[in-house]
Amino acid sequence: MIFGDNIKKDFAELTYKNMTLAVVYRGKQPTAAEYISGINNGTYTWSGNFLLQAYKNIQLNVRKIESTYRVEKTSPSRTLHGDFMCQNGTAEWAALFNKTMIEGSNKLLEFDLSSNTVNFLRNITDDDLFMIVPVTDMLGDGVLRFISIDFYTDENNPLKQYSLNFSII
């Protein structure tokens, strides 16, 4: 199929610009189905062994770069998005969530500012709004990039770069 050029902008603006929540993990990147199982059995929750740090309210914008539309972080690179540090480890992947996942009566998760924890409030399903993405340092090609992918609980690791690129053939 072929599309008018603005379809890429539409996808970026209408949907993916709202993926403003991130939870960073260590270990092998799972499939979406494996992530669902891992949340529901506790493996990938705050009490599990893989969750490193979470980020709330990432400010995103859409920028056109030649024929590509990029959803990217607009805040300065050292901007903190909360102090939700869970455990030490080397980051490999992350789950991005739509901002509506922390809203409404059926919200999926909450960022608890009193305890600086991120809690899943119910079982996650494939109908929830999330995506699994790679994480790298600045030399890699991850959707989320950090100066260092080594995370420590006594040091907030600022999100350096966030890039989702839309370029449909």
Partner: protein, 200 residues
């Protein structure tokens, strides 16, 4: 290779929100056509879709004849064929002020791997046609099979992040075209054919 996977819920939301640009409201200036002739190489130069390839239009559905159900499934009312011909592509557009939302895809018989495949692509003037159950989907899994231009930056230049190629496509395995001849007593072809649509 970087892999990105989205949930089904996110995929459906993206399709739903994208399709709102094509449906918006029943009074909007939009059309869905079955077309003959060569499919365009690009749509980016089409600024007046209401005047584009008029002579190649075989069947037309107006915006108020198009319904989206379950957030991503297109169904139309019945519409008379404008002329006879062989369908080779479809075209859907909607004008939103100065913005043109448009898409096109190839139509072939099975199994020639068109975006839409049918047992027959022959349209007969004044026969009626409708589409039922044409589903739009996005891919759930993407890899870095496509690269963006490198953004100028201080050396050494970092690699560009993995791009997303959502590859919106139609998935009409359950779609059918209901064809009803308006002159039953004549030997009109086809009288009661059901077109079974299978997506590539």
């Amino acid at each position: 290779m970087a892999i990105i996977e989205q949930s089904s819920g996110l995929e459906k939301l993206a399709v739903k929100q994208f399709l709102t640009n094509f449906t918006a409201n029943d009074l909007s200036r939009g059309r869905f056509y079955l077309m003959k002739g060569r499919i365009p190489v690009t749509l980016n130069k089409i600024v007046a879709p209401n005047r584009f390839r008029i002579s190649d239009r075989l069947v037309q559905w107006n915006s108020n004849q198009i319904k989206i159900s379950n957030e991503n499934v297109l169904t139309t009312n019945a519409s008379f064929a404008l002329k006879s011909g062989i369908v080779s592509w479809f075209y859907w557009y909607r004008l939103d002020g100065d913005i043109v939302h448009q898409m096109a895809g190839s139509v072939t018989t099975t199994p020639l791997n068109g975006d839409l495949e049918y047992d027959s692509v022959q349209v007969i003037k004044n026969s009626t046609y409708s589409i039922s159950g044409l589903e739009f989907r996005l891919r759930k899994v993407f890899d870095d099979n496509e690269f963006n231009p490198v953004i100028p930056s201080p050396t050494p230049a970092p690699p560009t992040p993995a791009p997303i190629n959502p590859s919106l496509y139609v998935f009409p395995t359950s779609a059918t075209w209901l064809v009803n001849a308006i002159i039953p007593s004549a030997g009109v072809y086809p009288e009661s054919a059901t077109w079974i649509v299978s997506g590539s």
